[in-house]
Amino acid sequence: MSPAGHDEALTDRTPVPDLIFPRQTLVSLLVFAVCWETLSHLAPYLGIPPFAVPSFVTIAKSLVQITPIDIAVTLARVIGALVVSFLLGVFLAMAMYRSEALDNYLHPMIRILMAVPVVSWILFAVLWFPGVEFRIGFVLVVVCGPVFLVDSLDAMRGVPRELRHMMQSFRPTTLQYFVKLMLPAIVPSIFTAWKVNISLAIRVVTIAELVGAVTGIGHQLSVAEELFSVSDVFAWTLVLVVLLFLLEAVVARVEKRLLRWRP
């Protein structure tokens, strides 16, 4: 037997590089660095306080003094809260997909949760909970969880009717229906939610740590602010940005591996 269309099949795929770092990016960073360094040298002549625009040498000194434990603590808080948010969000999305009644009850609450400003959540957390870790975890989960939930639920509802119909015709159990169809089908949306939430979590954890934490990058930023050390603020901010890029790169790597089936 010779299946029709074999010649059309298995078309070559051009490998896509992991990291695209165009020359323009390097140029713009270099221009920014030159402008900053020039400004730091000209600051005294322009009436700007010398500490306000530290030179790269000063910033490098601050970078050397960065304490890895604070990075580790912030990173652990972010990853821990994101994992909890993800599990809660997807589980609730599955329940809401299954039960229209539950969806009708929870949907307005989720809309309200998403409308509350982060600062309000931080204040609520400080007023409600005594433990610092719980406060930070609470704020992160309450901010990131709904993003996972809403994105997962929307993606489940977007699974093509044809695929749902096909799957149902083979009579899966509820668990099989979610494990074999729904969860794999929403993986692309889940990755989008992870990317959005990593950026969100890095910003939220910093604010949460600024208020009351005694460890973490947010706390170190608070210390730098008290010492009027712009170079320290710059150094810790640089760490946050690099951390965000690294986490996004890890997610992109996993995404590429898990979504290798896409054309």
Partner: protein
Amino acid sequence: MTVSTGGPPPIEVRGLRKVFRQATSGQTVVAIDRLDLTVAPREVVAIVGQTGCGKSTFFDLAIGLEAPTDGSILIGDKSPHSDFDFFRGKIATVFQQDRLLPWRTALDNAKLPLELIGLPEDAQRERALTWLNRLGLGAFVNAYPHELSGGMRQRVAIARAFSVQPNILLADEAFGHLDEVTAGELRETFLKLARECGSTAILITHQLEEAIAVGDRIVVFGKSAKLLADIHVEKWPKEKYGVLREAIQATLQGNAPDARLNRA
């Protein structure tokens, strides 16, 4: 009559009625109106009818995804809707589009129904490979759907349906979207495999040539699945297939049985 594991049971449709209420206008639409039909074990029945005659609704009722408004559809003594789980691994479907899961390879797609019935992993793989090989896809088991042509994807869908060696096979316009040569090849393969498996098969189609080529019987649906004709193809000599085709065509156009159908 009970569903036995030895062979497929008959399909008995009695007074089947399905009414839908339109969401926008609130009006009711009678998709199927008091249909009576019997399909014998191992019979291959082609259902033909014009668009909107209730063929696809019948398909959904037969696989149990919809409940009848009135009447019954029984396979053996069980309802595919009320006894939904009972038919896991016993009813398989092939659709117009292949409906393969894009994140699964050809092998994993063919394994899907076997995973659902809880077959051990080794047996799943062995059986899915057997069916993919029989459908000429041995060299493409690790290909993803987007890497395969339309005809090959439909072959995977057929392998998926046959992998559970079902008692009942239902195909909804399964070859309608393919080119004539590919459709002809696949029809032939499908029929051969259905005969070998001893499955009862119902094929829904709008192509009369396909119905005549495949069916032991051709059931012609009019509006609201009114049974216009029930034709036993073996009573028609091959040289009269042209007349048969014209008679079915006239039946569909006139929404009433054509006189030539009684002169087989």
